[in-house]
């Protein structure tokens, strides 16, 4: 077989799979870092089997010349160190006939699930090659091979390996030798997928996960206290925040459950310290009663929900947007609160920082609806802009005359006395109350306080941040969260065929912004709503809160598989031609 001489491409997708302990995640991270060092953008997601440790695993890496925030339609290369149970991931690893499967012949034939794509299977003795190097590892051989297949410069790969093994210099030489052996082995392969040259680096870049970005956004917004209970896929956010908070004078406490975490942060915030918890659907469900308390007592808190597939324990390691109803409508009583959704890995920073700012400014709880895809994806992104949003709570001065904690102000926001301030002591209450906080069951007090709490959210200027609005035309797609990136890519592709439409990706979901959306959709004749739920939660929300112009269609499907551009392109085609 002679290697073809294919045209360089702007984007290439690779999977490295193997059983636990084979080091595919380590190699995947190194590949990601090597791409970043070479000036490319890249994204990595991961899949692992149901075993707690040691099960099969796959690192999925997309490398591109421009920013990427979603996976491609299919992978160009699937390399497996062994095939143990990798076929279980077949649905997550779509291949095309033009793809290449690389497997170790000593580990058996590639599974039929992959071969049926028509992709050729090229044998490479990864283990034997590794064994020929004292202390060599097959994952390093695979890394070299993959890097060569896509044309990453050797120097970047070596640098990435060196960085990652900084603390284990003894294994560096063997790893580098393994990489070289892999690069040499790539020469004999029947295909390659070279990338176009990397763009000139015009901006600083970060390598970051959505969970880290959300954590950092919170700290930039002023959060200094976190209480939380571990849950996939929110845990990494907490793991990043624990040491980070300690550095900036904050603290993270592991609570006994989510009922405790939400109430601990309510207590801390009542004490004047901006506070946050992070969880996933099951935890958010447990927190709901106390989110009502935060609303009624006007205690600002931020809850990041890194959504996973529900209901119940569902599929803990996979993404879905199906906590939307719970976040929007779960609270009992009429309980105005903020719901925001980041729409990219780096937007997790912006949205969480903004949410912190808004929660503090309105003295109301904010739910940030991230998801497993955004939270756990590790991406090379342009360094996000510095944002001015900080926690700015309106507080009461010492000895404020005739202090009323829940005073009926024009904006609805009333100065909050922080414990320790003399002359303004009051009791915060989840019972309906009058202006001083004294419990009241009077109809007038109830109505006045309901109006006040509503007014707070309605009197904020959300500016242009409520949504990302792009494009023109009489067609419009409305989406949110992690669906945004594949929709954007589908748009770019469909535009080449003359497709023209607007895209609205909503970041602020509550309070609803009907006037702003009406503005964004002025002149639109048809709307397509795209989301990752089974029941069309986002569609139903839009239909109930907004007057959508013209005819409105819905494209929705549940997790666990991520949205891919091609499926959206085919939806756009059907819909735009209908």
């Amino acid at each position: 077989m002679t290697p073809q001489n294919p045209a360089p491409r702007a984007s290439v997708s690779i999977v490295l799979a193997g059983s636990g302990g084979a080091g595919v995640m380590t190699a995947g991270n190194m590949l990601l870092e090597a791409a970043a060092l070479a000036g490319y953008y890249a994204l990595m997601t991961r899949s692992s089997g149901p075993q707690i440790r040691g099960g099969e695993a796959a690192a999925m890496v997309r490398i591109a010349t421009g920013p990427v925030e979603n996976m491609e339609d299919h992978f160009h290369v699937l390399a497996a160190i062994d095939w143990q149970n990798i076929h279980r991931f077949a649905a997550e690893i779509p291949l095309a006939a033009t793809s290449l499967i690389v497997g170790d012949p000593d580990q058996g034939e590639a599974p039929a699930e992959f071969l049926k794509s028509g992709a050729p299977h090229a044998p490479v003795n990864l283990k034997k090659l590794a064994k020929s190097i004292p202390g060599g590892w097959p994952n390093m051989v695979a890394l070299g091979l993959l890097a060569a297949l896509v044309g990453l410069p050797e120097a970047s790969v070596m640098k990435a390996v060196g960085k990652s093994l900084k603390k284990r210099p003894d294994s560096l030489a063997a790893s580098l030798a393994g990489v070289r052996a892999g690069m040499a082995a790539a020469e004999a392969l029947p295909a390659r997928y070279p990338l176009l040259p990397a763009p000139d680096a015009t901006s600083a870049r970060w390598l970051i996960t959505g969970n880290e970005a959300a954590g950092y956004g919170a700290i930039r917004g002023g959060v200094r206290f976190v209480a939380a209970y571990p849950i996939t896929p929110g845990t990494e956010l907490l793991e990043w925040m624990a040491p980070a908070l300690a550095k900036v004078g904050g603290a993270l406490v592991q609570a006994e459950d989510e009922l405790a975490s939400i109430n601990m942060i309510i207590g801390a915030s009542y004490g004047g310290v901006p506070s946050l918890t992070a969880t996933s659907g099951p935890g958010l469900a447990l927190m709901i009663e106390s989110l009502g308390l935060a609303t009624a007592s006007e205690t600002p808190v931020v809850v990041v929900d890194v959504q996973r597939v529900g209901p119940s324990t569902g599929i803990p390691t996979k993404s879905e947007q199906s906590d939307l109803n719970l976040a929007l409508y779960g609270l009992h009583g009429d309980a105005p609160h903020l719901v925001l959704a980041p729409n990219s890995v780096s937007d997790c920073l912006f949205t969480t920082q903004w949410a912190t700012h808004l929660a503090e400014a309105t003295q109301a709880p904010a739910i940030v609806l991230s998801d497993q895809f955004l939270g756990q994806a590790r991406a090379v992104v342009d360094r996000p802009a510095d944002l001015a949003f900080a926690a700015e709570r309106v507080t009461a001065p010492a000895n404020a005359p005739d202090y009323k904690r829940y005073a009926l102000t024009d904006s609805g926001v009333s100065p909050m006395a922080i414990p320790g301030t003399p002359g303004t002591a009051y009791t915060a209450d989840g019972l309906e109350h009058g202006e001083r906080g004294t419990p009241s069951s009077q109809a007038t007090d109830h109505l006045a306080q309901l109006d006040k709490r509503r007014r707070k959210l309605d009197s904020v200027d959300y500016g242009s941040h409520w949504a990302d609005v792009e494009g023109e035309g009489e067609l419009a797609v409305v989406t949110f969260g992690s669906c945004t990136a594949p929709v954007r890519e589908a748009f770019a592709r469909a535009r080449r065929d003359g497709f023209n439409a607007r895209l609205v990706s909503m970041r602020l979901l509550s309070p609803a912004q009907p006037a702003r959306l009406a503005d964004a959709l002025a002149g639109v004749k048809r709307v397509l709503v795209i989301e990752q739920t089974h029941s069309g939660q986002f569609y139903r929300y839009l239909r109930s809160e907004y007057d959508l112009p013209g005819s409105v269609s819905s494209y929705r499907r549940p997790g666990p598989l991520p949205m891919r551009p091609e499926e959206i392109v085919s939806q756009l085609e059907q819909w735009s031609k209908a």
């Binding site: 970060w206 904050g250 405790a260 009542y270 004490g271 414990p419």
Partner: protein
């Protein structure tokens, strides 16, 4: 005027003008008096004290003080108090509530608050009944108490023993008090606040409406015949074998208080960026 120079406050200065919703004769009135006496005894300032509670008759107590108060949801008072104290170690935090609030719906938080040993004081006004919801059995209700329509034959369940649970879970200070002795109770509360770590005070506080027979508690209570011990096994034996009316400080330990440092970071938020930069 700085805090030291300020005139010492009297108990009445800690009592607000809000009229309690409690029934006449309810034990909780005296508990309120004991709390305000203890605050005055410790020369606390109203602005530096926070009283935190859940839901129940007894949980109404924060608004009856002139301190900062937080009246949250049923069962979660200890979590609110814990978050507040960890974020604001400078405050004196007193968490208060009923036996239903603390031992039933909030039971998990009770155990873990003892374990965590944050420097706060937890008072349970135990009347062995759910007063606010009009007379159902609580975890401390006797198994053969038949006056609730929910459990007309009695619960048949063995009572929860909060003092042993507290001891086994790691509370650093454990006492039993009786609302009918406001001065003695004030002493115990003051001692509880003074002792570092998690201090638990179980106060027998009659519900005269749904458990009128508890009026007789005044004849049953008696001072603990021995001094407090710091030996957990000795304390366990005493607590398990006493008649439930033994009043006084029963255990004082030496556990280290849990308080992560807060407000003392060496870095700015922007310094964290280095971890992401390529």
């Amino acid at each position: 005027m700085n805090a030291n120079a300020a005139a010492a406050l009297a108990p009445k200065d800690f009592k607000s003008e809000v009229k309690p919703v409690w029934c006449p004769g309810c034990g909780d009135y005296s508990v309120l008096s004991s709390i305000t006496k203890a605050f005055a005894k410790l020369a606390l300032r109203v602005e530096n004290v926070a009283v935190v509670s859940g839901i129940g008759c007894s949980s109404r107590i924060p608004a009856y003080t002139t301190c900062y108060g937080f009246h949250g949801v049923h069962g979660r008072a200890l979590a609110v108090g814990t978050g507040l104290k960890l974020a604001r170690p400078d405050l004196t935090v007193l968490v208060a509530g009923g036996d239903g609030d603390g031992y039933s719906i909030g039971g998990n938080h009770f155990m873990h608050a003892c374990r965590r040993n944050v420097d706060l004081t937890y008072i349970v006004m135990d009347n062995r009944v759910y007063g606010m919801t009009k007379g159902q059995a609580s975890p401390t209700t006797e198994p053969d108490w038949e006056s609730s329509k929910l459990t007309p034959e009695g619960t048949g369940l063995r009572e929860f023993h909060p003092l042993v649970i507290a001891l086994a879970s790691g509370a650093n200070f454990i006492a039993r008090a009786f609302s009918g002795d406001p001065n003695g109770t004030a002493e115990i509360i003051a001692e509880a606040i003074r002792t570092p770590g998690f201090s638990f005070v179980e106060i027998l506080s009659p519900c005269v409406t749904f458990r009128p027979e508890q009026r007789l508690w005044k004849d049953k209570v008696h001072d603990a015949p021995v001094k407090p011990t710091s030996d957990p096994s000795q304390a366990a034996r005493r607590i398990l074998t006493d008649d439930g009316f033994n009043i006084g400080v029963l255990y004082v330990g030496h556990r280290k208080t849990y308080q992560p440092p807060i407000g003392k970071g060496a870095k700015q938020a922007a310094d964290l960026e280095a971890g992401f930069a390529l």
